[in-house]
């Protein structure tokens, strides 16, 4: 890999040990994936935030680093609402350690907004054609596919290394040739809302890490694309997809000859197979809800009193900008939690079965929380799981 004189100097330790380590991480990964050079990045989104996932090992590493990030950098969701953690049922010790992780990132100059939807809170983080080092899998998928930016699925340390250097190795989805679709997914029915989570859940498992091109009968909005990408990144490792006539790069490619056809019955089957008899938590907002989704939930909850625990997860910024929707949601007994989600918070573990409108949460909750999970439309979720 070609390094500039300045990059070489950092690698040789001339800018101190933290930057030297950061450069070693980036160049080692670059060598493994045969990158030709480093590429400047617009922003970083750093996973490895929840104390539940990184534990004391991660806390120690982040706390030992010195220096400051040189590009706008933002965090993935933490293991709790940083203010309302007691209401979530988080214990003092977890909260103390989670707070130390956040503070350690803050010391490095990272913006301590914890969200998997950074594109909702600052559009300047990613625009068409920008190179990024993002790590949360649904954010990676959205940035690549819907925004047309370019990022690999970075691990937490490599995203942080890129944030400290301001560059990442130029391989994978940074390159034109890796963005070409290799399989067509023909969806032979009308799909909307939570159907996209179910569709992503099916397709991710079939295509693995390949780039699919969707041919749809209906035109999905950005919220539906968010749900589709999130589910495919969870059930598979899809970091980029195209939707014919919809996503920004789709016009550049022909639909590949190899085709998977999906029919209505297959999507219905995902809901039918994941229709639990009893649920004790309804959890929405995976990925974090947008302003429109909060508003829609508020409308569905108008005049309703929920007799089950209901969490709606979003970012702190989206919550703060939509006080009316939040007020109406909470008047029903449902709660709007921020900085966290049902997948990365240990608070989910005390429940028996979670009902969600997210294909991604459906995939991850059983393994990561040891809890059952069911899938339904947002409306059916808020009906309390009465989804006959």
């Amino acid at each position: 890999m070609h390094l500039t004189r300045e990059e070489e100097a950092i690698l040789n330790g001339e800018s101190g040990p933290t930057l030297q380590k950061a450069m070693e991480i980036i160049t080692a990964l670059g060598d493994i994936y045969k990158a030709d050079s480093l590429v400047p990045i617009k922003s970083a989104q750093i996973a490895g935030v929840s104390y539940k996932t990184i534990g004391d090992a991660g806390l120690e590493w982040i706390s030992d680093l010195e220096g400051k990030v040189v590009v706008p950098s933002i965090l993935n969701p933490a293991g709790m609402d940083l203010e309302r953690w007691r209401e979530m049922g988080i214990d003092e010790e977890f909260a103390a350690r989670q707070t130390r992780i956040i503070e350690a990132y803050r010391q490095l100059g990272v913006r301590c907004e914890c969200t998997c939807t950074p594109y909702y809170i600052d559009p300047a983080l990613a625009s068409y054609g920008d190179h990024l080092a993002w790590s949360e899998s649904s954010a990676v998928s959205y940035a690549n596919s819907v925004i047309g930016a370019r990022t690999n699925r970075e691990g937490g340390p490599s995203a942080l290394a890129a944030a400290l250097i301001g560059k990442t190795a130029n391989y994978g989805y940074h390159l034109d040739e890796k963005r070409v679709p290799v399989i067509t997914v023909h969806v032979d029915c009308h799909v909307s809302g939570a159907d996209f989570g179910a569709l992503g859940y099916l397709i991710g498992a079939q295509v693995g890490a390949d780039v699919p091109m969707f041919r749809l009968r209906s035109r999905p909005n950005d919220l539906e694309l968010k749900a589709l990408g999130a589910a495919m990144a969870a059930s598979g490792a899809v970091a980029l997809y195209h939707v014919e006539g919809v996503t920004p790069e789709s016009d550049s490619y022909q639909a590949p000859a190899e085709t998977i056809t999906i029919e209505r019955s297959q999507i219905d089957e995902v809901f039918e197979k994941n229709c639990p008899e009893e649920v004790d938590l309804i959890a929405l907002g995976c990925p974090h809800y947008s302003a429109e989704e909060l508003e829609a939930a508020a409308n569905l909850l108008e005049g309703v009193t929920m007799n089950k625990e209901v969490w709606i997860c979003t970012s702190r910024q989206v919550r703060d900008k939509n006080p009316d929707a939040v007020h109406r949601i909470e008047a029903s007994g449902a709660r709007v939690f921020v900085d966290t989600c049902m997948v990365v918070s240990p608070a989910t573990e005390r429940f028996g079965c979670v009902l969600t409108d997210s294909g991604k949460a459906l995939k991850y909750i059983p393994g990561m929380c040891g809890v059952g999970a069911g899938l339904a439309s947002t409306r059916d979720c808020l009906k309390g799981g009465d989804i006959d």
């Binding site: 380590k21 070693e24 996973a47 490895g48 990184i54 090992a57 120690e60 340390p157 490599s158």
Partner: protein, 134 residues
């Protein structure tokens, strides 16, 4: 007689120790106890063995990305391997070795897993990508 294997430098620095060789991939998270360096994964070829101060030779990493941090914890606890040799490096172990200052080499010629025997005294130069069986 010293036998030399040449590979790709991954994580810089030199380490020396007794080799511990396995044909099974390793996930540090859940498989290695960071307090003791003991392999605790059931059915793993190295179950019950200690990785501390060994030259750990295994095909590749597997499992959670948190493993990188567990390698760092091993280092801080003084229970880390002296060096790591992989047949084919993947990002989790690579990042773990770099942040933990554990010398690492991969893709050696001849193949490390079939050439090095558990108990051999091995020296790893992660800066130059050279492994020597002493």
């Amino acid at each position: 007689m010293i036998r030399t294997l040449r590979g790709r430098p991954i994580s810089s620095g030199c380490g020396q120790g007794e080799a511990l060789v396995t044909k099974d991939p390793i996930s540090f998270l859940g498989s290695v106890d960071p307090a003791t360096g003991m392999v605790v994964e059931q059915e793993h070829e190295l179950e019950g063995k200690c990785v501390s101060n060994k030259v750990l030779v295994f095909p590749t990493g597997k499992g959670s990305t948190v493993s990188s941090y567990v390698m760092y914890q091993l280092k801080k606890n003084g229970t880390a391997p002296a060096a790591v040799i992989n047949r084919s490096a993947e990002p989790i172990v690579v990042v773990g070795a770099i942040i933990s200052d554990i010398p690492m080499v991969d893709s050696t010629e001849p193949d490390a897993i079939t050439t090095i025997k558990t108990g051999d005294m091995v020296r790893v130069d992660g800066t130059r990508g050279v492994v020597q069986i002493l």
